[in-house]
Subunit: 214 residues, 2 copies
């Protein structure tokens, strides 16, 4: 029955949805992550209930918005990770891609890292667990997969790869966040330093002074 009509409606709704997302994007870029639903609705030229009909609640809108940027960033990262180059080069290129992204659009980056924040409703199960931003988790899993596919690390490789994936992503994120705030060096230097860390330069370095235990 009238599939064409339904498709038409669907397409219209999808277009609307995209328009709304773009408006939300503009507002978030301007006001930061605490952009209000009212502001977003106003920017889109409509009123709140429409937003709620499309996205359920604020979390839904934010999730949809985050998915867009996350997907885009992950695509860039995948390209750097999968490049046919030496490992060190790939690692540095991936780090640099990430850092360039957060450098270019810090607001978007901040928005992605500050997700849910919990609803106003008194319920709020407060589920211990999934704390950090979904973006970090996805990057971690993605990297874990690449590591497991491409690196031979003996038995228990899967678990090791996941630990390393999340750990490396966290390292990248924290160092990037700090760097973005203080700008103590160029991006290239930061990339080199982090890669050096992963290459065990800390472990290999000598002690500065012979402590009692040494």
């Amino acid at each position: 029955m009238d599939t064409t009509q339904r498709t038409d409606q669907q397409r219209s709704a999808d277009r609307r949805r995209r328009e709304l997302l773009e408006a939300a994007d503009r507002v978030v870029l301007r006001d930061g992550p605490q952009a209000s639903m009212n502001a977003i609705a106003a920017e889109a030229g409509i009123t709140k209930p429409i937003l709620y009909r499309h996205f359920g609640d604020k979390g839904g809108l934010y999730a949809a918005l985050a998915k867009r940027h996350t997907d885009a960033l992950l695509d860039s990262l995948r390209a750097a990770l999968d490049a046919p180059a030496e490992r060190r080069e790939r690692v540095e290129s991936t780090l640099d891609t990430y850092l360039a992204a957060i450098e270019a659009r810090p607001q978007v980056y901040r928005f992605l890292m500050h997700p849910a924040e919990g609803g106003t409703g008194g319920d709020q199960g407060f589920d211990v667990g999934k704390h950090s931003a979904p973006l970090l988790r996805r990057m971690g899993e993605e990297l874990a997969q690449v590591i497991e596919e491409r690196v031979d690390v003996g038995p228990e490789s899967q678990q090791l790869a996941r630990v390393w994936g999340h750990g490396i992503v966290g390292m990248m994120h924290a160092a990037g966040d700090w760097w973005l705030g203080e700008r103590p060096c160029s991006r290239a230097e930061l990339v080199r330093s982090l890669a050096d860390l992963l290459w065990g330069r800390l472990a290999a370095a000598g002690d500065r002074m012979g402590g009692p235990g040494f």
Copy 2:
């Protein structure tokens, strides 16, 4: 003039302040980071305005609360970092201390990682920069200092130490957060895996299949 009286008042105020902080602590431990000022006041047996007189605003209270836990955790970490043992052992012990702490009190941990959240007021300068939790920053700086003091890494040691400090802290944090949610392995295994990563085991591992670039 009347310094004694002033001191008395000061001490009384300080005691009150500590009591309030302990009440807030209990509530945050129960309700998570979105604990309301009303709830905290009720738990302390008083009403909101008193809280505001003592701490200014919600951010002030949260900052004071965070400082306590942060200081405590940092003390533990310092002990592990400064122990007279081999470097690998110290690193593992530090990682384990941190992970044990977040494992024991996940709510506190989560509270520490989700700071300001932005005030209700429409002002909110949205300062790009200082994004991540103060705890992470402080841990990063602390670790950087220890690295610089004890590790000989050639010239530019200061900058390198800071990058590594923040990077390692981020690695620890992200991996810990993920681990806390999924519990894919024991704490000891996680510690070993992370230390292995820092010791360059990823960089040293062989490729799984000869790709075009290899």
